[in-house]
Symmetry: C2
Subunit: 480 residues, 2 copies
């Protein structure tokens, strides 16, 4: 650890001794992000205040050949911010200033440690808000939203974080501070957003602000079965309505939410739908009537009369993940996505697998965009239960891939789904993506081991076509 | 030319003799794209039918060390498809099949040579259309739309091509066929769209289809002055209305359009606004009344009663560029963008420069998103007129940069604006972008000379920080 000790000393020179943590007990509190079953105590933690400090930290790591991982609030669910025992964890939580709110041009400039909901709080007096709304929005930070391209219930209508980021100041793995923007040249901004911390560290984010809607109307519909609720979703989308959100929960997740927050969902429901419309009152009122007609098969329709009732409807949904702890000692939160048209088939298959393996699965999901969040329940104290749950969780990902979907909808690949990447992409596809990683980070120190399986292009002789990469041919192949 | 002759022979083996053009007279017809004052006769033209043929062509070029440029219909306005005299021009116009229309999932799969408007024609029977609508949409092809990230009048509400492309099959510069999609891993799709043909050649595009709006309402407002029209634009946006389009034309462009297509715009207008709303009838009707109120300063308000009248209103706008030929023997189409809030200042400055230099400038633009298209008029037969026009055109770009805007709004950098890139980006910013280019195309054969100034990273010893790129330090610097 002499190498890390020397590096910690260098970091103290950069940020001051009070901003470097190397005490083992303190380090242990940083050993995971929201995916708690992967843990690793970081070698050193550093808490910078400025972009210049981060650039100096990255250069110090590069000089020492030590890997580093950046994190904000650490709420990610794929282990993207899992630290390295042999490396530095760069925590941006002290960089939480809202630098500018430019309402006339519908944008704000914030530091990466700013909490998602605080952007909305800063913009609301001007009549605006920040649209991406992950369930963790009260605690998650913008830097992490950028790294993971975070979604949320309202991304059906408003898009993901990438649609709301206009520019990022970034420290690249070679320790330079660059500005990535929309505009001429490559859209590196788009490639950076969602790169899960592997291309650099964002130090300043210009976000798009969205006008607060004139009206919001929220409906809770109780159905006998998932099939009927699913049919209503299809009917709404087919009708051309684009709700701000359509969320679905099954009986098991309703039971859990009820136990946790007493949200008062319709008793005995096999499924509930939450449908929210927002926008100009004239449009919302007309479309809301249409949505109610399209939910005719519901045995109960409840319309939120005010913000309090609306809040209650959402409380059940937003608490669902945590609430599952009330009905099961352990659970896995899965995240996959399928074409919306495949929802009925895939839900039926999940149900069949659940019965066959005797493993309960609670389904909570963003129905409008086919983003499943099955919660696979188990009791870790029971022999083999964890393994069976893992198997069912894996089978659900198989189903997503088989049905033309993806291994992750919004939680990212991180450390959790690295192994699944070759099932979605050919070797050539992965090579092409990793060319970019190697271009940014040839030494492989920036959040290594995340997103991509083995680093095929940097430091290994690749099986690429001869004569095409002249540099490979000329014997310099170790660079790719 | 022995090298090119041998390569042409190889290309004939790949695509058949009838699909390779090497006759000088025939080659000359391919010597420019829509930016006609840059011309270069291609060394060889090849017209492939399949992705596999394109991959083989690219590999043949790589083996021979010969540069290549891809083009579709060749309607681009920045010279992005300008051929190389020493290279191959790969023309995708024979690849024009609409392979699939999947209305249930709101997508279509098309070949790159498909004409923009033909996607809408294929989708319309299902109630959908393809939203990006460059003025050239009757002739421009999807491959070019992807390369340039094309915009259009309705991009204010619907976004650019990048927001409507879900996947691209791409032949990379190393001759592999890869699939770029949204989903896990880097958003290379986003970086590829708008990369102006420098990262590879798209061979199949999956586009998002947009539901045909229930209602479209179009208004033509005549104002005394640009200032008053501009104030109306600001008022509409500030009110929270998002029109499908807000277009503005000044007196000179109105005169030109009138001369060309007799569009019947209000006589004597100093400016006209075209405001179009689309969406659900309930919303459109309410907002349309609001827009009319906000255009209270107009001396004439005309609402299109039907599709014929709507077509007439748009005909004036869409013909404006070509129409300028009626009032001036020569002109430069400029393309810049500024924050919408800067419109009044910048328009006043353009007017001042125009008067000061005695060069007429017709202003036609996408007012809603601050995208200016000044037409700088001159008579090429008059000594020094071309130079003065170039100077004014350049000054307009200066204004855009000074006011926090960009050197191009939607026409791209191409060959035309390469020299301006260092004025928008630092050396580090450009280096970072070019790292990606070098990763894809280390030999520099894929549309070289476009977008970026000197290729600083491939094949040159860069002035990058020592100790950060260990590969540079180790003497292998020629790779960057």
């Amino acid at each position: 650890m002499a190498l890390l000790d020397a590096l910690a000393e260098r970091l103290r020179e950069i940020v001051g001794a009070e901003s470097v943590i190397s005490d083992p007990a303190e380090l242990a509190t940083y050993d995971c992000d929201g995916l708690t079953y992967h843990r690793a105590t970081p070698g050193v933690v550093v808490l910078p205040d400025t972009a210049e400090q981060i650039a100096a930290i990255v250069r110090a790591c590069a000089d020492a050949g030590v890997p580093y991982v950046a994190r904000g609030s650490g709420t990610g669910l794929s282990g993207g911010a899992l630290p390295r025992t042999d490396g530095v964890l760069i925590v941006t939580s002290r960089m939480r200033r809202v630098l500018e709110v430019d309402a006339a041009n519908q944008r704000a400039v914030v530091e990466p440690g700013v909490i998602n909901l605080d952007v909305t709080r800063a913009a609301r007096p001007y009549g605006y808000y920040f649209a991406p709304d992950p369930s963790s929005q009260q605690v998650c930070s913008i830097g992490g939203n950028v790294a993971e391209n975070s979604g949320g219930a309202h991304c059906l209508k408003y898009g993901f974080t990438v649609n709301h980021v206009l520019a990022c100041e970034v420290v690249t793995p070679d320790g330079e501070i660059v500005e990535l923007t929309e505009g001429p040249g490559y859209d590196l901004l788009g490639a950076f957003v969602g790169s899960e911390g592997t291309l650099g560290i964002t130090t300043k984010v210009t976000v798009r602000l969205t006008r607060l809607p004139e009206t919001v109307r929220t409906l809770l519909a109780g159905f006998d079965s998932m099939e009927r609720a699913g049919a209503a979703v299809s009917a709404i989308i087919a009708d051309g309505v684009v709700p701000a959100a359509i969320e679905m929960m099954d009986a098991l997740s309703i039971e859990a939410a009820e136990a946790a927050v007493s949200c008062g969902y319709p008793p005995g429901a096999g499924a509930v739908l939450i449908v929210e419309l927002d926008g100009p009152a004239s449009e919302v009122d007309a479309q809301f009537e249409r949505v109610k007609e399209l939910c005719a098969e519901a045995f109960e329709l409840r319309v939120a009369a005010d913000d309090t009732e609306r809040g209650l409807i959402w409380r059940g949904r937003k608490s669902a993940f945590a609430a599952v702890g009330r009905i099961s000692p352990d659970y896995i939160v899965q995240d996959g996505v399928i074409p919306r048209t495949m929802l009925p088939q895939v839900l039926a298959r999940i149900d069949a697998i659940s019965r066959e393996r005797g493993v309960r699965v609670a389904n909570v999901f963003h129905a409008g965009d086919g983003n499943l969040h099955p919660l696979v329940l188990f009791d870790g104290s029971e022999a083999g239960a964890g393994e069976r749950a893992e198997e069912v969780s894996g089978r659900i990902i198989d189903l997503c891939i088989e049905h033309g979907g993806s291994i992750t909808g919004e939680h990212g690949v991180g450390i959790d789904k690295v192994e699944h990447m070759p099932r979605m992409f050919t070797g050539e596809d992965l090579d092409t993506m990793q060319m970019v990683r190697c271009a940014f980070d040839p030494a492989g120190l920036c959040n290594p081991g995340k997103v991509y399986p083995t680093p095929r292009l940097c430091g290994e002789v690749p099986g690429r076509r001869k004569g095409v990469h002249p540099l490979v041919e000329s014997g310099k192949a170790d660079l790719f």
